[in-house]
Symmetry: C2
Subunit: 266 residues, 2 copies
Amino acid sequence: MDLRPIGVFDSGLGGLTVVKEIKRLLPNESIVYLGDTARVPYGTRSKKTVTEFSLQNIRFLLKKKVKCIVIACNTSSALAYTRIKVETSVPTFDVIGPGVRAALSNGLVKRIGVIGTRATIGSHAYKKAIHKGSSKASILEVACPLFVPLIEEGELKGQLIEYTVDKYLKPFIQMKIDILILGCTHYPLIKSQLLKKLKKIRIVDSGKTAAKELSIYLEKNKIVSSKNKKPRDEFFVTDLTDRFIKVAEMFLEESLQGKIKKVDIN
Amino acid sequence: MDLRPIGVFDSGLGGLTVVKEIKRLLPNESIVYLGDTARVPYGTRSKKTVTEFSLQNIRFLLKKKVKCIVIACNTSSALAYTRIKVETSVPTFDVIGPGVRAALSNGLVKRIGVIGTRATIGSHAYKKAIHKGSSKASILEVACPLFVPLIEEGELKGQLIEYTVDKYLKPFIQMKIDILILGCTHYPLIKSQLLKKLKKIRIVDSGKTAAKELSIYLEKNKIVSSKNKKPRDEFFVTDLTDRFIKVAEMFLEESLQGKIKKVDIN
């Protein structure tokens, strides 16, 4: 048993889709969430900058005495995980490894599509990880830089998101993919739009699979929290506006009024 | 005569539309440009954060011994100009004042539309400035948060930008505005799309009018650069990727390969 909280960070608020899944699977765990809203998005920035920002997030969470850290951001996972692993004194979990393992889980050769930010796709982190697990898989990675701003603006249905989905998914339809990996923690919010276009395709939500691997790890290592302890979640952001609270509530699907604190991590 | 360069900063690269205009009006001036690409966009962030970032930009430009500073960012102008003016030892120019003066220049009572980022519009900086100049003007301000990501993605024509323009401009058509102020230095790139929708409307480009006021100020105060001196421009960013170079070239309309340097201003 380990009563310490689980640390989770993201460039912004998309990582709350991962928090929602952790809370569903591990209802007794306390969470400390950090969203770097003063510098979101990471998906357009360089490896050097994303690594620097990610390490600052890690240092903040370590001060909060977390028992482990989930990198609930695909861009950080893709660009900074190697550095984070070396420099972090508690176990760390990325979202890319679990997403890839879930995609390859039934052992068949597959045509796999991956969507993500420009930085995640540009790093080919998914392609490399998939090829390690299955040399025969065909992989197509497509950067979808407009999905994050559209989702953050609440454009979850209607013409704008439909046109954008059409634009980005066209090559996957031509390739006849079997599986699409959502390589960004914002994307679960437009899953129904993606499915409308890519009928009968299996969609792998990288954040959801990361939460699942985390729960298995905690159980196996007997470091889950006590069933008798009421969890106490803390939400921190590096910049706070009314808009951020609304967007956060959209991702987490619960009220956060008065529950989010602004911190300086710089 | 003053041979020192003109400092210009923006949250990112949109401010290069202002640089282009300064270089057209003042071809002998040297420019030091700073784009805070590690933390772009500012338009979604709080006043406190935008002010802090803006003052860091100012301090960087002052170290470069500039003779004056142009805030080529409407969000910074709207949220941080009062603080910047107090804390800066050289003359500073915002983009909002010049935009408003140009809109009101012919002295008639008008129906004025303003478009900008969420932060610029939320501050009502334009509304307040217009009301100071003309108490009778009717003003409608609309936040257009998707324009910046669309422009940065090069979506300058086609269905996506057309749908977004339709969505945001609808209230202006109903109100029958006479003038539309572009309250963001990115927007000149979609001017033709806006005109397609708002026929016969006068469009005021706030960045362009700021460049004009700057040139008048330099002439009047006899601090223009020598006509015999070849200008030497310097471009700095806080994060550098190949993509940023491409976007910068789109705004400035000249090649910047090898000319942009990454700096740490934090």
